[in-house]
């Protein structure tokens, strides 16, 4: 196969428990951006309720950390609650600090 030739002898690559070492922005990308990125379900639905330019959560200026944490844990409208198995309390706190741009 062509790709195998290109890659040569490279073989196994292992991903560890990387999420523990990420900062708020990286955790947002890893845990939230699939829905709240450019073309995700969350951005698409929020664009029906507010100005589309602030529908991506990273563009918002009105989020407090407490609000982000609450919304993630209990869900809002069509956003399901995010379980603590998926995103730990410490990870969510980090994401909330990032999205709130420092507002508690």
């Amino acid at each position: 196969m062509r790709h195998a030739l290109l890659i040569g002898i490279a073989s196994l690559i292992t991903l560890g428990a990387h999420a523990a070492d990420l900062n708020g922005q990286q955790l947002f990308q890893h845990k939230c951006a699939m829905c709240h990125g450019a073309v995700g379900m969350g951005t698409g639905l929020l664009a029906r309720r507010m100005k589309p330019e602030v529908a991506p959560l990273e563009k918002r200026e009105d989020l407090s950390a407490a609000y982000v944490e609450r919304a993630a844990r209990i869900g809002i409208l069509n956003m399901p609650p995010i379980t603590r198995g998926d995103v730990s309390d410490a990870q969510l706190a980090s994401i909330a600090t990032y999205l709130s741009k420092g507002k508690p």
């Binding site: 790709h3 195998a4 196994l12 379900m41």
Partner: protein
């Protein structure tokens, strides 16, 4: 159990119980778990099942718990402990052989990001909502749209914790350090992988998957057909090419509503209850340029071969006079629209915007009988199903997804969770659809936790010989009846009293 996983991996508050309940429920209280645990290793899972067996506590395993439309993370038996494998996220890619060994917590987005950031020219196949686990989806026989679209067929070799805590590796994995674990699906003797699919015989802690080498080109057509009665001819045009291998992907024919309910909401078109009128349907189709049916057909691989197959495909489609046929062409390095992601192995969540169809809290439950690839029989099944949607006042969403020989007719019932009167109609509607299909020998390929018994009940040859076999295996492997009682209608003796179709 806390001693095994540590207190930071035990979730037992009221909020946790809600979070691990079904998000697209008919009755949100019916399947509430008692708690959830998030182990991080096979050894922890072994210890947990041993404790569960000793105390006869039912466990419901989820890979990431995102199985929306089929129960989300919720167990069949309320009060079960959810084993959430989200934190098991190891990925081992074998570049040369185009395979990956995954733990269950790896999501489609995780694997995609892993491959992209390392410029690894291997593709995954993704389902319409790709929020969940790669392994979990394959274990539930989920579907995608590329030549690797039948996800359960990509499985190759597993590590499984049995209900007594023993660990088995299937296929070539039964030989320690075999370099062929992810290459040969059968090993020697009986092949067990499919026994752990849609079952409750063990907990899959690792599984191999085949990945698709990045193709030299992708080409195809986005086809729209104008009339309701065009379904049969469209199926009859595609079927022979799929069976022959001219078409190697898993194409999915969808009705106009499957595309439109992502883009708009009902209130923008009508305030009348009941199924949408023909006038409203025509107006929405016109607005978005949709046929009654649409399908995206793609050929993948070496350019000369792909183009030759595309020419055959084009001729077959022209013969049935489509409303429109938009060409698609791509080669590595070229950009493509985000809406093309499904055919390019790029995970997505935007199709779940359909949950907002009624304007508030929504969701969907599927009704998905397995059909033949006969256009005539599919058109008849469609006619019956469409009449039932109108009788029960539902908006009809359907797709017809090709396998190599069969076709899955995935119908979605869009839910309006803010309207209790509407929700009361959903359960009788689904039961009617299941009964109608059964009369014609059509059974479902997958079911929401509320309908596992009913669907299993349709597979009743020789006085439910298949169920009796499943339950003999279940009772032999899991005498304490702790693993996912009721999953796929398989009940251990210890829980038999709870069974109700």
């Amino acid at each position: 159990m806390t001693g095994v996983v540590g207190p930071a991996a035990v979730f037992a508050t009221e909020e946790d119980r809600d979070a691990y309940s079904d998000r697209f429920p008919i009755d949100p209280h019916r399947h509430r778990p008692f708690a959830a645990l998030a182990p991080t290793s096979t050894e922890q899972i072994q210890a947990l099942v041993r404790i569960a067996a000793a105390h006869r506590v039912p466990i419901w395993t989820v890979s990431r718990g995102k199985n929306l439309g089929y129960g989300t993370a919720a167990p069949v038996v309320a009060g079960s402990i959810v084993l959430d494998l989200s934190r098991m996220q190891k990925i081992e890619v074998d570049l040369e052989n185009a395979t990956v060994l995954l733990e269950p917590g790896v999501g489609f987005f995780d694997l995609y990001e892993y491959l992209q950031t390392r410029n690894i020219p291997l593709w995954l196949s993704v389902p319409g909502n790709s929020w969940g686990s790669v392994i979990g989806n394959a274990l539930d026989r989920g579907l995608g749209y590329t030549p690797y679209g039948e996800h359960t067929r990509n499985l190759c070799g597993m590590e499984v914790v049995l209900p007594d805590g023993d660990v088995v590796r299937t296929g070539m994995g039964a030989m320690p350090n075999a370099p062929t674990w992810q290459l040969h699906k059968y090993g020697y003797g009986p092949a067990w992988d499919q026994l752990f699919v849609q079952s409750n015989f063990g907990i899959v802690t690792k599984a191999g998957m085949w990945l698709m080498p990045q193709p030299e080109v992708v080409r195809g057509f986005d086809v729209e057909m104008d009339r309701m009665e065009d379904l049969g001819p469209l199926i009859d045009a595609i079927g022979p090419l799929r069976r022959e291998g001219v078409l190697q992907q898993s194409p999915t024919i969808g009705n106009w509503f499957r595309a439109a309910n992502i883009l708009t909401t009902r209130k923008q078109w009508t305030d009348k209850p009941g199924s949408l009128s023909d006038e409203v349907i025509s107006a929405i189709r016109k607005q978005f340029g949709l046929g009654w049916w649409g399908v995206s057909l793609r050929v993948y691989g070496r350019e000369t071969v792909a183009q030759a197959n595309l020419d055959i495909l084009e001729k077959a489609l022209n013969a049935i006079k489509p409303m429109s046929m938009k060409p698609f062409s791509w080669r590595p390095g070229e950009p493509f629209a985000a809406t093309q992601g499904g055919w390019m192995g790029v995970p997505m969540t935007f199709p779940m915007q359909s949950a907002n169809w009624f304007g508030g809290r929504g969701g969907h439950i599927g009704f998905s009988p397995v059909l033949t690839q006969s256009g005539k029989l599919a058109q008849e099944q469609f006619n019956r199903t469409y009449a039932r949607y109108r009788e029960f006042g539902m908006d009809y969403q359907a797709s017809f997804a090709f396998g190599e020989r069969h076709m899955l007719n995935v119908n979605a019932v869009l839910l309006n969770l803010d309207d209790p009167q509407f929700m009361k109609r959903v359960d009788p509607f689904l039961r009617t659809l299941i009964a109608d299909a059964r009369q014609h020998g059509y059974g479902e390929y997958r079911a929401h936790i509320d309908y596992m018994d009913l669907v299993s009940d349709c597979y009743d040859y020789n006085n439910h010989a298949l169920r009796r076999l499943n339950e003999r295996v279940k009772n032999a492997l899991d005498p304490a009846g702790i693993l996912a009682p009721g999953k796929s209608g398989i009940w251990p003796a210890a829980h038999r009293r709870e069974q109700k179709a």
